[in-house]
């Protein structure tokens, strides 16, 4: 399946996320999920970003709301707008899961 997963929290739902598999997997970081794109806890990337084969996106509005900019974002993560998210879920992926 082609699955777009939304992560909106800094903590929790990790165990479902880790086990989920998809032929094509997009991980869209929104709301407090954006912290995974900018924080290096203990000097390390968020474990969220180690999901194999996934493409990572973060919503610019939610990044800016919380005081971060493109300069802070992990190079693994692409910044997207609301319009981009619409395109992702209608064109690139077939199903969505808001964890």
């Amino acid at each position: 399946m082609k699955l777009a997963v939304f992560l909106s929290d800094l903590r929790r739902t990790e165990d479902t996320y880790e086990r989920l598999k998809a032929e094509k997997l997009g991980v869209i970081l929104v709301e407090n999920g954006i912290y995974h794109a900018v924080i290096k806890e203990g000097g390390k990337d968020s474990p969220v970003l180690s999901k194999a084969g996934a493409t990572f996106y973060a919503l610019t509005d939610d990044l800016e709301t919380r005081g971060y900019t493109a300069a802070n974002v992990n190079p693994k993560v692409k910044l997207v707008s609301y319009g981009d998210i619409v395109d992702l879920i209608t064109n690139e992926y077939e199903k969505t899961a808001w964890l």
């Binding site: 909106s8 319009g83 998210i85 619409v86 395109d87 969505t96």
Partner: protein
């Protein structure tokens, strides 16, 4: 163009998930998609007219009305609303109240479903 259904369950004033939903709906409509929105759980807060617009809180009634005028269907869970003391006369114009089967039925024909659960 696709049909997108959003089911929004978390949130009240203070969480940003409702804001997210309305901004995403706006972006989808701008691209010519059809959008349906189901509000259940705490998200039924939208079924109460007369919310005072403070800068400290997001205030979505105006945006909701604009989106409805552009064809978005928006329906709230009737039981969830009554349990919070929101009655028929409280509903903003254009919004519908129904039971959960409205949402279930929408899942049949919609191309995409984004169900926003959470706590």
């Amino acid at each position: 163009m696709a049909e997108l259904t959003l089911g929004v369950f978390p949130s009240l004033v203070g969480s940003m998930s409702l804001d997210f939903s309305f901004k995403l709906a706006e972006a989808a409509i701008a691209k010519g998609h059809k959008v349906n929105m189901w509000l259940s759980g705490n998200a039924v807060m939208m079924a109460k007219k007369g919310q005072k617009a403070f800068k400290d809180y997001s205030h979505l009634e105006k945006r909701m009305k604009e989106l409805m005028s552009k064809g978005m269907e928006i329906t709230v869970c009737e039981a969830c609303a009554e349990a919070r003391g929101y009655h028929k006369e409280d509903v903003p114009e254009g919004m519908k109240r129904a039971s959960m089967d409205w949402y279930l039925a929408k899942t049949v024909k919609t191309d995409r479903l984004l169900h926003i659960g959470g706590e």
